[in-house]
């Protein structure tokens, strides 16, 4: 059977989904993380527990939510709790095994900026802000990050650290009081990065089929370290692609109309 064709976004989503297991309790960010987490749920990890910061625990949306508080999330959830409870008992309480985040900017230690481009007091671009990310990054058992790789996103120095990755590297995170392991993997449209075990600097460890290490380096705003052996991502299976495209098609159809009705 011929390999199915797929887009960079699709392989990024599929690769991220594969990180999830049936035992994962995932605190899901909106957008790419939500697509990947739901793809996992609809393929190999039907028992994954998806938590959204709007208070939905065990969410099983039929279509991808446009926002973190879509009615779709509440409708089929195991339970819906208040926003303070979701952050206190479930995230800070240490019940989340994976925090799944996107980012506007990321640095070599996987610190994240979602606050401002330019100086804080007089920003060039005002981004949405922290949301749940600083505490997800600190409290989840580990953090997966998914974002497209390009020099505007992968920067040498963040304008603002919204959420901690490995801070200044080495043991700086361990000493910081953050409880979780922090970012253990970054999935992009080009490949896979993981923090070096000692320095904690993000290192290219994998590439999607057809992508070169040079392309990944060129898409990175710092001098990207590359592992000696690079794993090549197994291409999306026909089933993975079919489920993902179905999900996106259902979502587009639903969001063309009103969503959230109970």
């Amino acid at each position: 059977m011929a390999e199915p064709a797929y887009t960079p976004n699709e392989i990024m989503t599929v690769a991220a989904a594969r990180l999830m297991s049936n035992a994962t309790v995932c605190f899901v960010g909106i957008g790419l993380p939500s697509a990947a987490a739901n793809l996992a749920r609809l393929t190999h990890a039907p028992d994954i527990v998806l938590i959204y910061e709007s208070g939905t625990i065990g969410a099983k949306p039929e279509v991808l939510p446009l926002s973190i508080g879509d009615g779709e999330l509440a409708e089929y959830a195991d339970t819906v709790v208040s926003v303070p409870e979701i952050f206190r008992y479930w995230l800070q309480g240490g019940r989340v095994t994976v925090g799944f985040l996107g980012a506007a900017q990321i640095d070599r230690f996987a610190n994240i900026n979602t606050t401002v481009i330019g100086p804080y007091a007089k920003p060039k671009t005002r981004l949405p802000g922290a949301g749940g990310a600083p505490e997800i990054a600190a409290a989840a058992g580990e953090v997966f990050i998914v974002l497209r790789q390009n020099p505007r996103a992968f920067v040498d120095k963040l304008d603002f650290v919204t959420s901690a990755g490995h801070l200044t590297g080495g043991d700086s995170r361990a000493k910081s009081g953050a409880r979780g392991k922090g970012p253990t993997v970054v999935i992009t449209d080009l490949g896979v990065l993981k923090p070096d075990p000692v320095s904690k600097e993000l290192t290219l460890v994998g590439l999607h089929p057809g992508v070169t290490a040079e392309q990944a380096k060129a898409a990175t705003g710092w001098k990207l370290k590359v592992a000696e052996r690079l794993e090549i991502t197994t291409p999306p299976s026909a089933q993975e692609l079919a489920v993902l495209r179905d999900l996106h098609a259902r979502t587009a159809k639903a969001h063309g109309q009103q969503v959230g009705e109970g």
């Binding site: 508080g69 926003v83 505490e135 409290a139 009081g177 063309g256 009103q258 109970g262």
Partner: protein, 281 residues
């Protein structure tokens, strides 16, 4: 002495220039109708509080109601930036907007502290983040038992909280279900509270452990069907995603925004008239 009054009266009696006001809703049940009434009544110098300021705060900021925004995530969910918010922050238009920025976990804890009669909230927060260095209202406290240093932030106690809910009974007891967000805490933390509802019923028929706000915790209840539009009301109507996407274009330029506000919000006597106005286009 019914609590059930018109939205016009509720806002007129409970909100003054310079007040601190929280109009909460976490994607679900956002009090759009009440926000429009604040715009119509021309309130100024407000401190707006909300975890997730979106289109309605973009409108209030764009007309110059606010001098300060306290928040943790500002955007048009699933669509993009809030252009009026960014214009105010980046270019002081129509008036400068000071911002006080927290995380969701912190804002939720602050409302809880406010509802709990405590002066401050404690959380494991902001580890490694630049936010505390840019916000003097994020401090630390040391656990007297373990010696751990944790984040401490002041309670939120708004002058007024406004929320939208599904149902009230004729006494003014309010029932909310689905994504209940931070609404209960925001009401209980406030000095005064106004609630708009989809319907007023004889009996709430609420499950025993529901999210209920008893009538003696709210100052006014207003019957405003559809009052959360373009957000949604679980069990009543879905979100109007088309409007949310269209907002991006409406709000992008100052002139277009003003014309839209003048025509549809200021040109309408109430939210029902506004809904008819935007339906005509």
């Amino acid at each position: 002495m019914s609590k059930i009054v018109s939205l016009k009266q509720a806002i007129a009696e409970n909100l003054r220039d310079g007040d601190t006001v929280a109009m909460e809703g976490f994607t679900h049940l956002i009090p759009f109708a009440a926000g429009h009434e604040v715009i119509r009544q021309g309130r100024k110098r407000l401190t707006l509080i909300r975890m997730t300021p979106d289109i309605i705060y973009d409108q209030m900021i764009g007309v110059g109601c606010a001098e300060r925004l306290v928040f943790s995530w500002g955007g048009n969910p699933g669509v993009g930036s809030l252009h009026r918010f960014r214009d105010a922050v980046e270019r002081d238009w129509p008036v400068p907007l000071a911002i006080e920025e927290h995380s969701h976990a912190d804002m939720a804890a602050r409302y809880q502290a406010g509802a709990s009669g405590l002066p401050f909230a404690v959380l494991r927060g902001y580890v490694g983040s630049d936010l505390p260095a840019n916000n003097p209202r994020i401090k630390t406290v040391t656990c007297p038992f373990s010696g751990e240093v944790l984040a401490a932030t002041p309670a939120i106690n708004p002058d007024l909280t406004v929320i939208h809910a599904q149902k009230a009974d004729r006494q003014g007891n309010v029932l909310i279900w689905g994504i209940v967000g931070i609404q209960k805490e925001a009401v209980l933390a406030a000095k005064r509270a106004v609630v708009t509802v989809e319907e007023i019923v004889d009996e709430l028929d609420a499950p025993v452990n529901s999210c209920i706000l008893p009538h003696w915790t709210v100052n006014a209840v207003c019957h405003v069907p559809g009052g959360a539009h373009p957000s949604y009301a679980h069990g009543y109507y879905g979100r109007d995603n088309a409007f949310c996407k269209a907002w991006d274009g409406i709000a992008r330029e100052r002139d277009g925004f003003r014309a839209w506000i003048d025509k549809h919000v200021l040109g309408s006597v109430d939210f029902a008239a506004f809904r008819r106005s935007i339906a005509r286009g």
